[in-house]
């Protein structure tokens, strides 16, 4: 049975193809369109998935959309009417947004793919999240907790899933919390208040939280109150996201927390104002963690299960995930590589396969690499055309040479095999560097990633060496498989791992098993033989504001435009030449950096 899953229209659109119960491919639209967070209907992603599997749309047994658009429209309409007259300004815009395209998904799919309406199915948003979390995890029975901004009505759902011995699969969502009471919206509101982009920069709030102290927890708890049944409710007097599209928080919110940050002003942590923003981030982070831990603990007591699958955008919060693992009672916590809406394309397809069509359970490969492959031959061609110096090496020489580059302090763009699904670079589209010196972190932030100086970088470590450098609790290595947890760096190694150790002594570590990314694993070992520490700084291969690179040509242009020293794709290794043009580009980069530095 061939099932295409589609997610679109809100954050991060994607397509995924499941054939005979096993994912074959999946890709986010942004990686193909090159527009970060592209939410448009994922035609390019669908096209690539079908081409990859050599399928015509007619051959699809079902196309599954990841949520019910009409139920969502009902929620938007109901909320707009409930909030009348405050919502009178937002109402036309909301209707225009919804009725322009978003509710006519059946027609859109039918018109683009030519499949009859009867083959177009819909799952509920949190069912898709639950399926993406549970059906891709190597577990037979698990509790499920999904949390995000909002789906149709639900913002949080709890339940459990089971793969039965007879091959049947069950996913049961027991309870849900409904819009506008939402942990995701709470966090997004603080994201907006702190001057970051909503639905995109929430991870910056988490990074900023490390610099602050949770001194405003009491104020945050006035905004979100716990209810006797273990849930929570937002005091809507502090919010406006449910009545207007212009602002997430109200004047009362500003009275409580102080003036919001101007997004054009850099955060200076040396000033009282900068510290207030960091404290604010730390406070909302603390309350989010406490709430999630409580809900997870109750779920553990209720289900008695040892495994928990987390889904929804909030599951990208690695600090919260780590506390859930440590304090909720679950022994293992599984977070997929794409817990947000992009992963819902895969979740919806798997849900339809297992639950709607009652197909027998199949093990899903435990890796995130479902996208287009990187072609080293293409890099050789590009380099040859531009007169760059490149080498085509056998695998072991290439890895030894790359380890030499890293040990010499060079920054390496690393493209290997299929593209990751999800926001993390997990070893196939990564920028790699030595993790030892703060200067390396600053260089990456300033010259390569062009991003805020407070943002940390993540390390990658082989599973064999992970425990030596990081304090991983039981189950920690699993959580760190897709960089879903944040763990303390052992004190004795913090100085030697300064580029990847956050200000609070933690790191969002990726613990790598050989089977998942063999070449990167071998590279880690080769680097360990040189430096004595088999740990590398691993950050996503993109520049600020751009999606992670997909094709080799994108890696190549990123390499040309930034301070990356070496580019590796497949068997091809490319180094920067000292040409007048390259110098000119580098000079531009340097002068920009100087401007930024002086601005700071």
């Amino acid at each position: 049975m061939k099932i295409l899953g589609v997610s679109a229209h809100y954050h991060d659109s994607a397509a995924a193809l499941v054939i005979d119960g096993v994912p074959v491919c999946a890709v986010q639209e942004e990686r193909l369109s090159r527009r970060k967070g592209d939410a448009s209907f994922p035609l390019s992603a669908i096209q690539w998935c079908l081409d990859h599997a050599c399928l015509e749309p007619d051959a699809l047994d079902a196309v599954v959309y990841y949520e019910r658009p009409m139920l969502k429209f009902e929620r938007i309409l109901t909320c707009a009417l409930r909030a009348f007259p405050h919502s009178w300004r937002a109402f036309p815009k909301a209707m225009q947004n919804s009725l322009g395209e978003r509710v006519w998904v059946r027609g859109i799919i039918s018109s683009h793919l030519g499949v009859p309406s009867s083959r177009i199915l819909f799952t509920e948003h949190h069912q898709s999240h639950a399926a993406a979390a549970f059906l891709t995890a190597p577990t037979r029975r698990a509790a499920i907790l999904t949390t995000d901004g909002v789906g149709e009505w639900a913002t949080l759902a709890v339940g459990h899933g089971e793969r039965k011995p007879d091959g049947n699969t069950e996913i049961t969502l027991l309870r849900e919390i409904r819009f506008p009471h939402s942990l995701g919206m709470l966090y997004s509101t603080f994201t907006a208040y702190l001057g970051f982009a909503v639905n995109e920069d929430e991870y910056k709030v988490m990074g900023l939280a490390g610099y602050g102290r949770p001194t405003m927890v009491d104020q945050v708890r006035r905004v979100i109150r716990r209810t006797p049944d273990g849930a929570f409710t937002l005091d809507l007097g502090y919010f406006e996201f449910h009545t207007t599209t212009e602002r997430s928080y109200s004047d009362r919110f500003v009275e409580l927390f102080g003036p919001p940050r101007n997004s054009y002003e850099p955060i200076d942590l040396e000033t009282a104002e900068g510290q207030r923003f960091a404290d604010c981030a730390a406070s909302v982070q603390r309350v989010l963690e406490d709430t999630l831990v409580d809900i997870a603990r109750t779920l553990h007591q209720e289900t008695g299960l040892t495994d928990l699958c987390l889904g929804g955008g909030v599951a990208l919060n690695g600090v919260a995930n780590t506390r859930i693992l440590a304090e909720s009672g679950f022994e293992r916590v599984f977070v997929p590589s794409a817990p947000g809406d992009a992963g819902c394309a895969l979740g919806a397809a798997l849900y339809a396969d297992r639950i709607h069509f009652h197909n027998p359970d199949r093990d899903v490969p435990d890796h995130p690499f479902w996208g287009p492959p990187a072609d080293g031959v293409e890099l050789a061609r590009l380099a040859r055309e531009d007169g760059h110096r490149f080498e085509e090496l056998d695998d072991s020489t290439l890895i030894e040479q790359t380890a030499d580059d890293l040990a010499a302090g060079r920054v390496v763009g690393w493209m290997d095999g299929a593209l990751e699904l999800g926001p993390r670079a997990l070893g196939h589209r990564s920028i790699l560097a030595a993790p030892h010196a703060v200067a390396m972190r600053d260089r990456l932030n300033r010259d390569i990633k062009f991003r805020e100086e407070f943002r940390p970088f993540a390390p990658a470590v082989s599973i064999e060496a992970a425990d030596r450098y990081f304090e991983l609790p039981p189950g920690g290595a699993r959580l760190a498989r897709f960089m879903s947890g944040v763990f303390p760096v052992r004190k004795e190694w913090r100085q030697r791992l300064a580029a990847v150790t956050h200000v609070d002594g933690t790191a969002r570590v990726q613990v790598l098993e050989h089977d998942m990314a063999p070449r990167l694993h071998t590279l880690l070992e080769a680097y360990g033989r040189r430096s004595g520490i088999p740990v590398l700084l691993n950050t996503s291969f993109n520049l600020a504001g751009e999606p992670i690179v997909n094709r080799v040509v994108e890696g190549y242009t990123t390499f040309r435009r930034s301070g990356i020293d070496v580019l590796v794709a497949g068997q091809t290794r490319l180094t920067k030449r000292a040409s007048p043009l390259a110098n000119a580009k580098e000079e531009v980069t340097c002068s920009r950096s100087v401007e930024r530095s002086s601005a700071r």
Binding site: M70, L77, S98, R106, G107, I108, G114
Partner: protein
């Protein structure tokens, strides 16, 4: 390979499938146990208006008549 269809053809297909979607919305509201039946006329009106506008915006020949419709 996805077949490339013209904008008009795609909108006609959308229009054709919209009745089912609107019926699904109305049915959902009607069956809702939270007393939302009164919303059905408004929801249907908005949906029909939305799809008519979406189609009219695509089919240029209809543009002169849009003001007449409303």
């Amino acid at each position: 390979m996805l077949k490339k269809r013209g904008a008009v053809q795609r909108k006609v297909i959308m229009l054709g499938s919209s009745f089912g979607s609107i019926a699904e919305l109305a049915g959902g509201l009607w069956r809702s146990d939270s007393g939302k039946r009164w919303l059905v006329p408004l929801a249907v009106f908005l949906s029909v208006t939305g799809i008519v506008l979406a189609v009219a915006a695509t089919v240029e020949a209809l543009a002169p008549f849009v003001y007449s419709i409303f």
